[in-house]
């Protein structure tokens, strides 16, 4: 022991440990460099901020992408277009990507909130329906305004066991026979719009004062029939499934989801007065601090397999044609066709959601009707 103590004086001990530490550090750096050089994850990695609706992703998809390229979106729930627009206006580049509907997309661009870009840079974009890559409202000289995702008209679902004769108009929502048996989503911009449709208004997002007054009168008639204003589409599915309501408005595919949930047979129709609809896109926020992560992530997230799975889970059509082929190859063509997945041109017949001159007044009218 004495011999050892003599050999390893304090100075010697410090010299030795410093040498070992240095060697370990060099070795670690060298091996890390080797790993980096061999790693397939040569691109950027990390987390970016994504504000979107809950049906734009599913957890296994996120996990798989994280495992593959080490990019993870930090997702915040998007309640509505107006809310998203205001949020991006306020926080700007703190968000990197946001979802938005139809005419809201050019609105973001006009305000300098999103970047136009060439979606064809992404390999997966080749799988989109060609029509989805050429929407006039999303095309600018600087590029395309978003990566096309899903679409749907707003339709009316009803339980034929309780609702007869078979309706074909928005008017069924107001029928006193169905007091407390109707559910609509809590969308202060959209409910006045489809009441406007019923009133025969051509452009329900740009209503005149008189047209809005007509829509408001119809909402007053609608209110006693509405059991509750749904916060999300699962509320509507549950209410139709358990028979709490017999009539509801919603996107394509609710009938299937109710059936899968063990509910009654539900019928669906597009009102004869016409309907409103949405088609949404993923937009890259201008100045996003982590925007370099968005495109590699989209490249992975929009693969036909992930989009086909998204369709099966959430049941409304998407713009990814390659995913349709995956669905067909896996025996889901009947379902996909029933949800109009193979007819993306349908979007051209809808009144697209968007900000309009009467939006503020519509929200006020909605509040005045649905207040106490």
């Amino acid at each position: 022991m004495d011999h050892l103590s003599k050999q390893f004086s304090r100075r010697r001990f410090l010299q030795t440990t410093a040498g070992v530490t240095g060697a370990m550090a060099m070795g670690g750096f060298a091996s890390a460099s080797r790993v980096m050089a061999q790693s397939p994850m040569a691109g950027p990695t990390g987390t970016f901020n994504f504000m979107t609706w809950s049906d734009h992703f599913y957890q296994e998809q996120l996990d798989a992408i994280t495992a593959a390229i080490d990019i993870t979106p930090s997702i915040s729930e998007l309640a509505g277009n107006a809310e998203g627009f205001i949020r991006v206006s306020e926080v700007g580049g703190q968000l990197d990507m946001i979802s938005g509907d139809a005419l809201w997309v050019p609105r973001y661009f006009e305000d300098g909130l999103i970047d136009a870009w060439d979606i064809n840079e992404l390999e997966v974009s080749k799988g989109l329906y060609s029509l989805a890559r050429e929407f006039d409202i999303w095309t600018t000289p600087a590029g395309y305004l978003g990566y096309p995702f899903g679409w749907s008209p707003v339709q009316i679902y009803y339980d034929p066991a309780h609702v007869s004769p078979a309706p074909d108009s928005w008017e069924v929502l107001l029928d006193p026979k169905y007091a407390g048996r109707v559910m609509v989503e809590n969308q202060p911009e959209e409910v006045p719009a489809y009441m406007g449709k019923l009133a025969g208004v051509g452009d329900p997002y740009n209503m005149t004062t008189e047209e809005l007054a007509q829509a408001k009168e119809l909402m007053i008639r609608l209110k006693p029939n509405v059991l509750r204003l749904a916060q999300q589409n699962t509320d509507v599915i549950n209410a139709l499934t358990n028979g709490e309501v017999w009539i509801a408005t919603g996107n394509l595919g609710y009938d299937e989801r109710v059936r899968e949930a063990g509910g009654p047979e539900i019928k669906v129709f597009t009102p004869k007065e016409g309907t409103i609809g949405w088609m949404d896109a993923e937009m890259i926020v201008t100045g996003g601090a982590n925007s370099a992560l968005v495109r590699p992530w989209l490249e992975m997230a929009q693969t036909p397999e992930h989009i086909a799975e998204n369709f099966l889970r959430y049941g409304r059509p998407l713009f990814n044609e390659a995913a349709y082929k995956v669905l067909v190859n896996n025996g889901h063509q009947e379902r996909a066709d029933r949800f109009l997945y193979n007819k993306p041109e349908t979007v051209q017949a809808m009144t697209l959601k968007g900000p309009g001159t009467s939006t503020q007044a519509a929200i006020e009218a909605f509040n005045e009707v649905f207040g106490a």
Partner: protein
């Protein structure tokens, strides 16, 4: 004992040292002052400013100073009616929460051993460990058309078909809010009752007071701070409540918070801000009234 001032200082230095000491005493308040100043007063100041602006057709806030948003609140019947209904709901829930929490805590403090008091109080607090949303949704499963109560009533043969008496109306909102508020009231009352000397009630009765007189003249005045705290804890949050009406209230159970949310979701920031300020002003006014007439300072002044 030598005073600190006396240690090597002259009497002329004393005021300066006193000032320095009082400044030194203030520093622990700095974090709270920052939090309150920045997160509360700062954001509130923004809201006040926005409430006097307007939102243009492009959803931008325009610094075009006006009082239109306030005029709208006080001239559109729906808004006044909804606010009035919210106040009535908050008052009713406060009374109900006190009416249930007071006997409960009285019994607990007076007749239950210390060990069991802790266990029972824990049981009162346990629901707080789950999310508020989850608890309210659970009530939907209890009160709903296919819910437990309807099943029970049908099982007992009291009703033939499910009734909507318990859900999607003001009653369901009231029931759920009483449930949600009960722990706040109970904990506030427990803290006061725990320090009450019950011997005073016996003494009052020995001197000829009836039990109800002893409660009114001996107990209630002494637990007043707890009652006031419970009132504030229950009444104030309900004025801004929006989740419970959404989940169990349906279109009949709407409160003012739901309309405010709609304005913000619809990007009508100026209008929403004005409504929020009216509500905040009302709450502030209410607290001032409490302070003036019910000596609410007792709540914080007790050592």
């Amino acid at each position: 004992m030598t005073s600190e001032v006396g240690r090597g200082t002259t009497p002329a230095d004393a005021p300066e040292i006193g000032q320095r000491r009082s400044v030194a005493r203030l520093w622990p308040a700095i974090p709270a002052a920052l939090v309150l100043g920045v997160l509360f007063l700062g954001s509130m100041a923004f809201m006040v400013v926005f409430s006097f602006w307007r939102t243009d057709a492009g959803f931008h806030l325009v610094p075009d100073w006006n009082v239109d948003n306030y005029v709208k609140f006080f001239t559109v019947p729906t808004y006044l009616r909804t606010f009035g209904k919210t106040l009535v709901m908050a008052a009713a829930v406060t009374v109900a929460a006190l009416a249930t929490a007071l006997p409960f805590t009285y019994f607990l403090v007076r007749y239950v051993s210390r060990r069991w008091q802790r266990i029972v109080l824990l049981a009162v607090i346990v629901p707080f460990w789950t999310s508020y949303l989850l608890r309210v949704y659970a009530w939907q499963a209890i009160l709903g058309e296919r819910g437990v109560i309807n099943q029970l009533l049908m099982g007992l043969g009291i009703i033939d078909a499910p009734t909507r008496l318990f859900t999607y109306n003001d009653l369901s909102v009231f029931i759920v809010l009483v449930y949600v508020s009960f722990p706040f009231a109970a904990l506030a009352l427990y803290a006061t009752l725990e320090r009450f000397d019950f011997g005073q009630l016996r003494a009052a009765q020995d001197l000829g007071a009836r039990p109800d007189q002893a409660l009114r003249h001996i107990l209630l005045p002494q637990i007043r701070p707890g009652i006031i705290t419970a009132c504030i804890f229950v009444f104030v949050p309900i004025i801004g409540e929006f989740l419970t009406p959404v989940v169990v209230g349906g279109t009949q159970g709407v409160l003012i918070g739901n309309l405010v949310i709609n304005f913000f979701r619809g990007a009508q920031i100026a209008q929403g801000a004005a409504f929020a300020i009216v509500i905040a002003a009302f709450v502030t006014l209410l607290l001032i009234v409490f302070r003036r007439h019910l000596q609410v300072e007792d709540v914080v002044a007790r050592g």
